[in-house]
Amino acid sequence: MNSRSGWRFTLPGLAWLLLWGGVPLLIVVAYSLMERSIYGGVERGFTLDAYAQLLDPLYLGIIARTLLLSLIATLGCLLIGFPMAYVIARSGRWRRWLLLLVVLPFWTSFLVRTYAMIFLLRDTGLINSTLMSLGIIDAPLDLLYTPGAVLAGLIYGFLPFAILPIYASLEKLDPTLLEAAEMLGARPATRFWRVTLPLAMPGVVAGGLLVLIPALGSFLTPDLLGGAKTTLLGNLIQNQFTTGRDWPFGAAASVLLLVGTFIALVWHLKRSDAEGESA
């Protein structure tokens, strides 16, 4: 089979992806530079108004909150995910089953998982009703519709993304390195900080990015678990394309999200390329 026959096979798929995947992104960039039409959609013309609008303190606040919550969620996933990955990597014959438990949430609809959180956190939910029937509290705690609920939802939703890459790098870790460190007199804590963690770092960075990226663009979690005060970038974008009817502004916010995502990815790819070469 020569490579010319390969071309013909790729054409329909590539054309589809270009038309329905690539062109729309260009349109969003174009829309972000146009003027809004009061009925939704855009008016012809060139303006940077939509981007200027993002600098409004209200929207800067939303961007800052999105970054902050996403970073805390990422840190949370790494802090919880690392020990989990560590135990899985050292669990011998249990390993397959524990890995299945990590992968299972990937197969579970994100909407259903978010609803499951509502079911636990709401005023008459399982946590509040259990605490009340045990007499620990008299009135239900305000768990739902808080930034804490959004944070819990993000960590719960994206934790498996952090575990898998960390597990992959811990699993590859050469045990003789740890034995050598031990024989040379390194204490367990020193072995962890000076050998295990540095060698697991590529997995930690990859896992962190895999949490950070979807967290930055999250919509369902803040929409269903957060209140009016936890609007994130995803809610802002959704709102502009539905009830807000300011498409150029929504497009500008999307471009911001897209650029942020790709900067993070390119940084990561460059970084892991450089490491691969030095290794």
Binding site: Y86, L101, I118
Partner: protein
């Protein structure tokens, strides 16, 4: 390392594993709880599943999800498989590697941006939103996954079989249907099942591209969740979980066979 893990670590990680799965387990358990308002367990019932059948919106949602899922899977599998075969035949040059890398572009695009951007294109083309637009959008995000799965299968394929068939004088079409496709079949089936799962589960992209008649099950659930929490939502959620799990388990099973 055969060294025993310290028990506080094992204990903490066990709790983390339980917390990771508890919410969904509770959700499923309470789809069988007889009491509507109280969270106290008051006996096993299938009432909430029976109620689902009496609600036209839910049945229509299920129907829309199945139709959209099946059609989108069919198109995505066809185009995705051809793309994988094409990439495989391009060999290992720079072009192939760049095209393969480009496949991950839609995979990493934030879902909400993918949703609003295809909505913007539909608006520009003045295409009315409905089943067709949802199918087009679903094919677009499913296609790269099919290609990635089939390509993984192709990597383990014995190329000499295709060459042998050609040397023996088989026309290209016959080589394709009698040699290439049968070898790739497990990858194609696994890719199709994965595509169906992604389509059946999708909320975000459907949210922006749906119109009259294309309110899929996740959209129905979203609407219900925003209104009130009721045991019927637990029942639909359980059904969505089962459909997804069966499709993914099937996909894994097919991929590991042979």
């Amino acid at each position: 390392m055969t060294r025993r893990l310290p028990w506080p670590l094992v204990g903490g990680v066990t709790i983390a594993f339980v917390l990771l799965h508890l919410p969904v387990l509770v959700l499923v358990a309470f789809s069988f709880n007889a009491s509507r308002y109280s969270l106290a367990w008051s006996g096993f019932t299938l009432d909430w599943y029976r109620v689902l059948g009496e609600r036209p919106a839910i049945l229509q949602g299920l129907r829309a999800s199945l139709v959209i899922g099946l059609v989108a899977t069919l198109i995505a599998t066809l185009l995705g498989t051809l793309l994988a075969i094409g990439l495989y035949r391009l060999g290992t040059g720079k072009l192939r590697r760049n095209l393969e890398a480009a496949l991950y572009f839609p995979v990493v695009t934030p879902e909400i941006v993918a949703g609003i951007s295809i909505l913007a294109l539909f608006a520009l083309l003045r295409v009315p939103l409905g089943t067709t637009t949802v199918i087009i959008a679903h094919v677009t995000f499913c296609l790269p996954f099919v290609t990635i799965v089939v390509l993984a299968r192709a990597a383990g394929m014995d190329r000499s079989l295709e060459e042998a068939a050609m040397l023996l004088g088989a026309p290209p079409a016959q080589v394709f249907w009698r040699v290439t496709v049968p070898q790739l079949l497990p990858g194609i089936v696994a890719g199709a099942l994965l595509a169906f799962t992604l389509s059946f589960d999708d909320f975000m992209i459907t949210f922006f591209t749906a119109g009259p008649g294309s309110t899929t099950l996740p959209l129905v659930v979203y609407g219900m969740v925003r209104k009130a929490v009721e045991p019927t939502i637990n029942a639909i959620s359980t059904i969505i979980l089962i459909v997804t799990m069966v499709a993914v388990a099937g996909s894994e099973w097919v991929r590991r066979e042979r």
